[in-house]
Amino acid sequence: MNLWTVQTLVPLPVLVPLFAAGLALALHRHERAQRFISVAALSVAVAAAAGLVVAAHDGPVVNDLGGWAAPVGVNLVADPLAALMLLISSIMLLCVLLYSMAQGIADGDGRTVPAARGAEELRRTLQAQDADADESGRRDVLPVAIFHPTFLILAAGVADAFLAGDLFNLYVGFEILLAASYVLLTLGGTSERIRAGSVYVVVALLSSIVFLLAVGLVYAATGTVNMAQLAERLPDIDPGVRLGIQTMLLLAFGIKAAIFPLSAWLPDSYPTAPAPVTAVFAGLLTKVGVYAILRTQTMLFPHDEKLEAVLLVLALATMLVGILGAVAQDDVKRLLSFTLVSHIGYMIFGVALATEASTAAAIFYVVHHITVQTALFLVVGLIERRAGTTSLERLGGLATMAPGLAVLFFVPAMNLAGIPPLSGFLGKVGLLEAGVVDGSVLAWILVVGSVVTSLLTLYAVIRAWNKAFWQPCPDERSLPARAPIPLGMIGPTAALVAVGVSLTVLAGPLWKYAERAAVMVMDGSTYVEAVFPDGAPRGTGESNEVQDETEGSTP
């Protein structure tokens, strides 16, 4: 097999971070080596994803892993949608990694755990270091020995979920990234994080079980979990069974994407994590859920107007409930968590309309939202560092204290609220246009709801802006006396803000690409054609000599 084909790129974003995670864990005593490995691995992932974006433009790139043919073997498929998501998430992960590294270096990398010399001694050392950390007021200590490998595993899981060519691999990808996220959320095992983590973990476990059961049902109903085969077989099965399966998948992904009735876990669990972790979670994990909804609902299942109507109503509820929650918050992190929930509604709106234009707009919106939401959370991390708090009651005077920070906050905040000409505006206009073209009563209600949500978002971020940056500082004494924010933290944040702005400049080509991705996902036949070339029942793997395909497997 020729190694230098474009197919070789497909597994790289999964494999490289996984190997690097193992290596980083083995080298946990050598922090420099660890840092180098992590950055190198994620840079390779970014490069591979960029290559895939180019390669997938003309059609999905398929890799049958280990040479096993498609319906039985595991295959990874990079179609334009997956490649685009992969690229933007890899860039974002790399930025957050650099940010967290600068934070770690500035804080002296927290606790350095000595080699185990008996539990008692270890505990005493840790306690001493805890007391030490307490005195210097460091709250976001990231134990780097654990943080880097876990972060890399998260990256691998996300990539696997995007590239998965079958439902079970999607499940595995979800589990990889969720397991890593459990560790990241409860990092350090402090009281607050255990409290928030318990809720998060239990909810995520439940959603995984629902997903697993749905995979079982899919297999029982169709005899396959391969997405290309499912796209062909699902339209033919009993509509009642299909609706049941579709609803269960929607339920499982809905919990992960935080759609309204299933979103209550999010605003309480995200803000307690360290700033870089929250940024990754907010930017990425919910979007993986949205991606899974987009993939399954549009590609696998035929149109179902009733379910689409339900999704529209849920999208509206997600938007409004989320943003009303955000308006009532007095903590910037929680406020942003609520806007996150709210804006998931926009993406679901696009998916639920189920036209090519709306799906393209939803894809564009996902890309925009990943960068903007992450950038905002990183900026809030900087604010917390400068002012010692994220409570809007205590913040103040930041515009004069840190004008650079003000710019870094203002641009993505306006982008989030959808002020023209920024990319948030373009994404929303695309969605509204698709809604108007649809023309049904429900779609019009959604259009109005979107505009209202957009205005309320503007209100929420302006309120945060006024209180944190413009009001005089309520209590000067509470400000921590600290060294200036390390450049290594500002750099990645500024880079992400710049990526967010560049989405506006590059909106034309990006929108074209999103449209192409939407057409391929909606149609599905190019995907099937790529996995099973020339209508063959099997993929391009080398296990063709098996005699009878139906024998032994369920019909």
């Binding site: 402090t190 607050e192 255990i194 318990s198 079980i209 697993l212 309480d268 010692g388 309520p474």
Partner: protein, 190 residues
């Protein structure tokens, strides 16, 4: 396409149902250990369902050995994967429950801070956030999170006057071998 005898065994189907019912019941408990047991039951139920999805048991799935219909190896491969995943997650939840016990002397899942706060404000019929001109400084969520972090150990009367207890000594310091948790909340007060 050959139609195989694919009717699942009734006993197994019933077992799936029972496992799911018991699992959901336990998942709704507050103690993490019980939640964990619930998750284990649910996981086993889902695995059993996957096994049923593979159809009836048959000959070993090795080609060329027998002419009988073979078992479906794919379903079993998937179950194997999901068993391993469940094992890892069980280990993690166990560690989390143990850490919770270390910190608090129990492993109950605590209430959402925001929920308790809103419930209290609703009883007082007060606005959800303080006006910036108001004289009383508002209690931030950080302070509250610290106060509510051990609601199970707090007596009911203490809960009613949350902000005051924020700086009080936590009740059962003896059962807290590691003091790491103490340093998170309320850092701005100093």
């Amino acid at each position: 396409m050959i139609v195989l005898d694919n009717v699942p065994s009734g006993a197994l189907l019933l077992a799936v149902g029972v496992l799911f019912a018991a699992g959901v019941y336990l998942l709704l408990e507050r103690s993490l250990t019980r939640v964990l047991l619930g998750f284990v039951l649910l996981g086993n139920g889902a695995n059993l369902a996957l096994l049923l999805a593979g159809g009836r048991a048959g000959a070993p799935p090795i080609t060329g050995v027998t002419d009988e219909p073979m078992s479906d190896p794919l379903a079993q491969a998937m179950i194997l994967t999901s068993i391993v995943i469940t094992l890892a997650l069980v280990a993690f939840v166990l560690a989390m429950a143990y850490r919770s016990w270390q910190l608090h002397g129990h492993d109950e899942v605590q209430d959402d801070v925001e929920d308790t706060r809103i419930a209290r404000l609703a009883v007082q019929d007060a606005p959800s956030y303080a006006d910036s001109d108001a004289e009383e400084p508002a209690v931030t969520l950080d302070v509250e999170a610290e106060a509510t972090r051990d609601e199970v150990a707090l007596p009911d009367t203490a809960k009613a006057t949350l902000p005051d207890t924020a700086k009080g000594t936590p009740p059962d310091t003896a059962t807290r071998p590691a003091a790491a948790g103490e340093r998170t909340g309320g850092g701005e007060d100093a």
